[in-house]
């Protein structure tokens, strides 16, 4: 029986932070730390969660926590894990919380190195689909069509032209002991995955979609619903990779309409019918690939 709202540790380890109201990333960090508890040592690279949580003398992490360099989440986790183990301390969890840019762009090399060494760390990517801390610039996890401040919508180009990088599959391709996707719209699934990961030795990776009301152009109270909807319409999926086997955790019987999901967000309001068809077609292609890769019939 995995941890739920009722059994979750009542302590709060991420509190009083200055994240925007309705921030999805802060929710992911908060509940993951509640699962991991006071023996978690958190590493956060330059990015939203470090910017809102570590402004001396307002220090919002109740557990041991440190900001790493932007590219250095995984490598600093490695050093923390090795340094504690070298001192005979083993009852802890080194956990990183990096955004999409910090993970899929500038931090990818260090993450790949850590997985290659199979360092005993948990790496959580809170994916809000752009460089939100610096003011909504495109990252390699920004979805097709999204308007950001570096993929503007004009006469010639309408937002981001490239699809999201397949981080989950990239990580899995290393032969990592455990990788999973999640969404802050389905927190029970996330809680279970964090708990499971914390009990596995070696490198663990969880990629959680965490909407950003500021960058996505949504109301602050819509964060959780939009994070549910992205799964329900099939533009994101809940899966695991363990011991070389992929598992789909949630298979919507029928997808909801992606147009509904997209139209709720300011960053997509320029999309044409044709754009939406492109997105829907690429969703279907992605699911075909999921069924094939995951060997699901």
């Amino acid at each position: 029986m995995s941890v739920t709202a009722k059994t979750l540790c009542e302590d709060e380890f991420f509190y009083g932070h200055k994240a925007c109201a309705g921030c999805g990333g802060s929710l992911a960090v908060r509940v993951a730390l509640k699962v991991l508890g006071e023996r978690a040592v958190a590493v956060l690279p330059a990015g939203c969660m470090s910017a809102v949580g570590f402004n001396f003398p307002q220090l919002c992490f109740g557990n041991n926590a440190i900001i790493s360099t932007f590219a250095g989440t995984a490598s600093m986790l490695t050093g923390i894990e090795a340094g504690l183990r070298a001192q005979g301390i083993t009852d802890f969890q080194a956990v990183g919380f990096a955004g999409d840019g910090g993970t899929a762009d500038i931090g990818l090399q260090a993450l790949s190195g850590a997985i290659d060494r199979n360092d005993d760390i948990l790496y959580i990517c809170y994916d809000n689909e752009a460089y939100m801390n610096t003011g909504i610039q495109k990252s390699s996890l920004t979805p097709f069509g999204a308007k950001t401040t570096t993929t503007p919508v004009g006469k010639n180009i309408r937002g981001n032209l490239r699809p999201k990088k397949n981080m989950f599959e990239i990580v899995a391709a290393h032969g990592i002991p455990y990788a999973a996707t999640a969404s802050i719209g389905y927190l029970n699934d996330f809680l279970r995955k964090v708990e499971k990961a914390s009990k596995i030795k070696g490198t663990k990776y969880i990629h959680i979609i965490a909407p950003c009301p500021t960058g996505w152009g949504t109301a602050t109270d819509m964060t959780v619903e939009i994070a549910k909807e992205v799964v329900d319409c099939g533009l994101w999926y809940l899966a695991e990779y363990e011991n070389g086997v992929y598992t789909l955790n949630y298979e919507p019987k029928q997808f909801t309409d992606p147009a509904e999901y997209l139209k709720k967000q300011g960053r997509f309001k320029h999309l044409t019918e044709e754009d939406i068809q492109t997105i829907t077609a690429s969703r279907d292609a992605k699911w075909e690939q999921i069924y094939k890769t995951f060997q699901i019939n």
Binding site: Y15, A65, D221, V224
Partner: protein, 96 residues
């Protein structure tokens, strides 16, 4: 246990740590001023399902007497709790 408000704000050189390392969970400011609406829990309707507690990005909803209560010092008024509550036990009211 959670980070909490302190009275002392380090200002003088002698109060600043020698290195950038300081007590975890040291808070000196509230977030209450960010809010123009506040969630109010209807204790009659609340059944203590804890979904609002689980989904609050700021962790300001806590268990109390089998139900929940809110730390208004740190609530930003985002309204996620109201939308998550299936029983309609949370209303957003304008701050005066």
């Amino acid at each position: 246990m959670k980070p909490f408000l302190r009275e002392k704000i380090p200002v003088a050189l002698s109060e600043i740590p020698e290195t950038p390392a300081y007590e975890a969970g040291y808070l000196v400011t509230k977030n209450a001023g960010w809010r123009n609406i506040r969630p109010v829990i209807n204790k009659e309707m609340c059944v203590g399902c804890l979904q609002c507690y689980l989904y609050c990005p700021d962790g300001v909803i806590f268990k109390k007497d089998g139900k929940v209560a809110i730390d208004y010092d740190f609530c930003k008024g985002c309204g996620i709790c109201k939308r998550i509550c299936k029983l309609g036990a949370i209303e957003m009211e304008a701050e005066k």
